[in-house]
């Protein structure tokens, strides 16, 4: 290209046709795909008995009732810090894995990778392996090409629909929703969500693929901050492979390196890159090029690992003739240990919080408008709004009492008794009057510290909240 004419700043996407490959990393990816997709598609169908008043779906995000169910754990809106904690753990976990093993998340478990893998798999079933697909792509439209394309798109659409469908099952009772979806009685939001997710799944997994990772995802950019010279990435041992060339005896093959320039590593790459150019932004470290190269090396009788998981420090060592450090020495270093410690700390804190949380919960909101009311007999009365949360799966009687001064008396709005019934898995707002007789200490003092006790009469559980009783201050 001559430098005088202005080149285009835009280019069409180069289609990528990854070749089928087998090997230990490919097998690992199949297993991970099976597990992750299995969890995603199947977990809404797991049942979990919580008694008659609560849903029996093991994993359920009940937005309407503001509850999150996860097996035996039930999260209320005010316990959202559990979710925040889990997100922090997910973040720290990503930091840990990235600093130790580079883009292992991208290469193996990222939904974009997993679904793209699934879409490429179906593409191969329908259209054949790399060569057949390249040929088909170059062909003019014919009946056969149209048939193959339409078949592929229909399968993709079904996968997309199943993906969007599985998503909505997390938000309501799955079997009921499944029937409603089929009979056309489900809420429009369910259909819209499914349609949008189906569309994006097909678009991202079927058509955009590596473009999502290279141009849309912010994570590859952020990751650079977490990687260092000990981070394991995929590298090409160019000190062993170069100069590359076809090994033909007549051309002085003894001068060439181990790389026979067969392009196997390039052909299997789902990102369409050449790993021999070195580490690069587009590489998701999925390891398929390692499988492909190991295969070739075995065939030509050379040791495996021309393309391999390596850290930057390994290059320097190997160039000096030393062996690469074992993987565990790269992985265990202060940085990763710190990340692990932080991750565990948050995890332990969440577990402790989970196990010490009470099954009843109380908040007290004193009514401060006005701070007190004088009754006709001179009694000073304060009013409090108590929110009683019954996290049991059954109705519970709660007795409310107040401590702080023997003169204080309590009265519950709407009932002559000192206990109220709180329905299963609900919050009850109970207004409570606390009264101090004329000239008693709390009535005269400016303020008296008091403590509300709520006792579950069924099993003796009790919780308290502190508050203040306001007197006339005279």
């Amino acid at each position: 290209m001559s430098s005088s004419e202005t080149p285009s700043l835009y280019a069409a996407r180069e289609p990528v046709f990854p070749r089928r490959v087998s090997g230990k990393f490919r097998t690992g990816k199949w297993v991970i795909m099976l597990i992750t997709l299995g969890i995603y598609y199947l977990s809404p169908w797991i049942r979990w008995d919580r008694g008659p008043n609560l849903p029996d779906q093991a994993i359920l995000v009940d937005l309407a009732n503001r509850r999150f169910f996860f097996f035996w754990i039930e999260i209320w809106p005010h316990e959202f810090y559990f979710i925040a904690g889990l997100l922090i753990m997910a973040g720290l976990g990503l930091f840990l894995f990235t600093s130790a093993m580079g883009r292992v998340w991208c290469g193996y478990t990222c939904p974009q990778t997993v679904w793209t893998d699934l879409f490429i798999l179906t593409e191969r079933w329908v259209e054949g392996d790399r060569n057949a697909r390249v040929k088909l792509w170059k062909q003019k439209w014919s009946f056969r090409k149209a048939r193959l394309r339409v078949t592929k798109w229909i399968i993709w659409a079904l996968i997309g629909l199943a993906t969007g469908g599985a998503w909505v099952f997390y938000f309501t009772d799955a079997p009921t929703l499944a029937v409603n979806l089929v009979t056309g009685q489900a809420h429009p939001i369910a259909y819209t969500t499914m349609a949008v997710l189906a569309l994006t799944t097909v678009l991202f997994g079927g058509f955009a693929r590596e473009q999502v990772c290279i141009y849309m995802c912010p994570w590859p950019r952020i990751q650079a901050a977490m990687m260092d010279e000990d981070t394991i990435t995929i590298g090409y041992r160019d000190w062993r492979g170069e100069p590359r060339g076809k090994h033909r005896k007549a051309e002085g093959a003894e001068l060439l390196g181990d790389c026979i320039d067969c392009n196997a590593c390039v052909n299997v790459c789902p990102m369409g890159i050449d790993i021999r150019d070195g580490q690069q932004l587009a590489c998701i470290t999925c390891g398929l090029c390692i499988d492909a190269c190991d295969d070739v090396m075995a065939k030509i009788g050379k040791p495996r690992g021309l393309v391999d998981y390596l850290a930057l420090t390994d290059e320097a060592r190997e160039r000096q003739g030393q062996p690469a450090k074992p993987v565990w020495q790269h992985v265990f270093r202060p940085r990763t240990i710190l990340y692990t410690a932080l991750w565990s700390l948050v995890g332990v804190a969440l577990l402790v919080a989970l196990f010490i949380r009470s099954e009843i919960d109380l908040t007290v909101a004193p009514i401060r408008n006005p701070v007190y009311v004088t009754l006709s007999d001179g009694t000073i009365r304060n009013t409090y709004d108590l929110r009683l949360r019954n996290k049991h799966g059954e109705d519970r009687p709660f007795r409310i009492s107040v401590k702080g001064d023997p003169a204080l008396r309590i009265q519950l709005e709407g009932t002559p008794y000192e206990s109220v019934n709180v329905p299963a898995d609900e919050t009850k707002l109970q207004r409570v009057y606390v009264m101090a007789p004329r000239n008693s200490d709390p009535a005269i003092l400016d303020r008296t510290d008091i403590r509300f006790w709520v006792e579950d009469l069924a099993n003796g559980d009790r919780v308290y909240k502190d508050s203040v009783f306001n007197g006339t201050g005279q």
Partner: protein
């Protein structure tokens, strides 16, 4: 030059043609779909500003051909909720108020709705917390002292017809004589009556004045406030023996009250008596239910 640069040259990748102080920029072309996405967002933006309210003009913004408005949407949602509650509204208007607390759904609707009615119409005088204005003639609705009765039916009647107004022929009416201004009692006698009232309400008093004050009280005051000073809710005569004072219970304020009398008024809120802004029966019942459950209802 690095090996990367060599490679780019070998592959014929040019520069963008930009140069800053000898620094050139390799041409790493963006995918074309990105460009089309950019154009699509522009197109979307144009269509959006035509379809929805967007461009600010002098007085208002362009309306957009879809005619969408968040305000209209809110109005629609309010109408929807009103339609949903139509049955409860009818039931509330016709309800037997004394039995309303037995119907949890109706009671809840009445209290919530009543709170809204109260904030809009009553809080100006009685305060947003319904505590009134102490010692200034706006009664505290939270306590257990009621001038005109504190049952839910009596509260509803007071709301509908008000106190000492010209609007409703059925408004509560009573008037205390201005004993000093109209020279019914002398200043000395007023002082005696005041000290008697201080005595029966359990406050510090001068017994020498309270003694003759008792006879004056029985002659002049007991017709409304009763012989024992406990007052009479049918006449709106307050109980003078308790701890609650609408205009203050000190010697000075009591002297002022006896000398010049008081004439607290409240508008009639029933739409029957108001040209505009009146409450219908369901709203009256709702606010009565709300006030009744504030802690002093009888």
């Amino acid at each position: 030059m690095s090996s990367q640069d060599d490679k780019k040259n070998a592959e014929g990748i040019g520069t963008t043609g930009h140069e800053w102080d000898g620094i050139e920029e390799w041409n790493n072309p963006l995918p074309r779909w990105w460009l089309w996405t950019f154009y699509a967002t522009i197109l979307w933006g144009v269509i959006y500003t035509i379809a929805y309210p967007a461009w600010p003009l002098v007085n208002k913004a362009t309306a957009g051909f879809l005619g969408y408005s968040t305000r209209a949407e809110v109005a629609e949602q309010i109408a929807e909720v009103d339609a949903q509650n139509a049955e409860l509204r009818t039931a509330l208007a016709e309800a037997d108020l004394t039995a309303i607390s037995e119907n949890a759904a109706l009671q809840n609707y009445a209290v919530q709705g009543g709170a809204a009615v109260f904030r809009a119409n009553c809080s100006q005088c009685h305060g947003s917390g319904a505590a009134g204005v102490q010692a200034a003639g706006y009664p505290n609705l939270l306590d257990d002292d009621w001038l005109w009765g504190g049952t839910i039916d009596e509260i509803a009647y007071t709301v509908a017809n008000g106190i000492r107004n010209e609007q409703s022929p059925d408004s509560h009416w009573s008037e205390m004589p201005a004993y000093g201004r109209d020279e019914i009692l002398s200043d000395e006698e007023i002082g005696q009556v005041v000290h008697y009232v201080l005595q029966i309400s359990g406050q510090e008093h001068d017994a020498a004045k309270a003694g003759p004050g008792e006879e004056l009280f029985l002659n002049e005051c007991s017709g409304c406030h009763m012989e024992d000073g406990m007052g009479d809710p049918t006449q709106g005569a307050p109980n003078l023996t308790d701890a609650i004072w609408l205009y203050g219970g000190t010697e000075a304020t009591l002297t002022e009250t006896v000398t010049n009398a008081r004439f607290g008024v409240m508008p009639a809120w029933s739409e029957e008596w108001r040209a505009a802004g009146g409450l219908d029966q369901s709203e009256i019942n709702a606010v009565a239910a709300y006030v009744h459950q504030l802690g002093g209802g009888q």
